[in-house]
């Protein structure tokens, strides 16, 4: 199977590929396709960067007044 894997098939199993849960034959088919496909190289790169960008952009910091009100809240209920 997997001869002539298309971009759409690779995208479908990309997460499993990156997590290392694909059978060897499928893994090799993905690698064979991507290595010869500039579109997939670009797609995989943007797919991999997406979590990093969202992680940095949604990293809320705890305001000091909220940390204090948490302490007061917990103290009042113990």
């Amino acid at each position: 199977m997997n001869a002539g894997l298309a971009c759409v098939d690779g995208v479908e199993i990309l997460m499993d590929y990156l997590e290392g849960t694909l059978p060897k034959a499928d893994r090799e088919a993905v690698e064979a396709h991507v290595s010869g496909c500039p579109r997939c190289v670009a797609f995989v790169e943007s797919y991999r960067q997406t979590p990093r960008i969202l992680r940095a952009a949604t990293a809320a910091t705890l305001p000091e007044d909220l940390a204090q009100s948490l302490r007061r809240f917990l103290a009042s209920r113990r």
Partner: protein, 202 residues
């Protein structure tokens, strides 16, 4: 009463806190309050809700500590409490209708080839270089709100909080394959969303 040492392990602190050592519990709060708040913000509708989740999480942890057996790590246990608290809040409120992110999924031609050119396919990875930081923070938050809840929860825990797939599965009570499937869908949608933010069709 023993003062908690900075290098004392979470599980040892948890055991002492369960036995009534208040400073041990306070040290656990100090260690995890920022992380629990960050998680709460990522799963909640707004800061007010995140604050409630933060308080409820540590209160539930305090009360639940005697039952903490150490079968999982303290952090995993605490994350589960926080996630459940956030999900309870969500169930209690009316969900605002949001526009789906389905339109941002990748497109293929009839032969299964990516419809976009390589330069456009890559555009999402430069969203943080191109967009103003404050704007990106607002849009990122809006993007999370637009994800279907089940994708959001898996994505937040796996990719934003960086739990392992097994830990996410344990926290959400689903199997690892379902975690991977949900995280994958979320990544695809958000990747296209970032692409759209920088003015490129995904």
């Amino acid at each position: 009463m023993t003062v908690p040492a900075a290098d004392e392990g979470d599980e040892a602190l948890a055991a002492r806190a369960a036995a009534g050592a208040e400073p041990a519990f306070e040290e656990l709060v100090a260690r995890y309050q920022a992380r629990v708040y960050r998680l709460a913000c990522r799963l909640s509708a707004d800061e007010g809700e995140a604050k409630d989740v933060l308080q409820e999480t540590f209160l539930a942890a305090y009360r639940g500590l005697p039952a903490f057996r150490g079968d999982s790590r303290f952090s995993t246990w605490l994350y589960r409490i926080a996630t459940n608290a956030a999900l309870m809040h969500r169930r209690a409120r009316t969900r605002r209708p949001t526009e789906s992110l389905e339109a941002f999924l990748p497109r293929f031609d009839a032969g299964g080839v990516h419809a976009a050119e390589p330069a456009d396919l890559l555009a999402a990875s430069r969203a943080d270089e191109i967009l103003d930081r404050k704007l990106l923070a607002e849009k990122a938050r809006a993007g999370l709100d637009r994800l279907p809840d089940i994708y959001r929860d898996a994505f937040v825990l796996r990719d934003l909080e960086e739990l392992t797939t097994a830990e996410v599965a344990e926290t959400l009570g689903i199997d690892a394959a379902a975690v991977r499937q949900r995280v994958h869908r979320a990544r695809l949608m958000l990747r296209g969303y970032l692409s759209d933010l920088v003015g490129v069709k995904p």
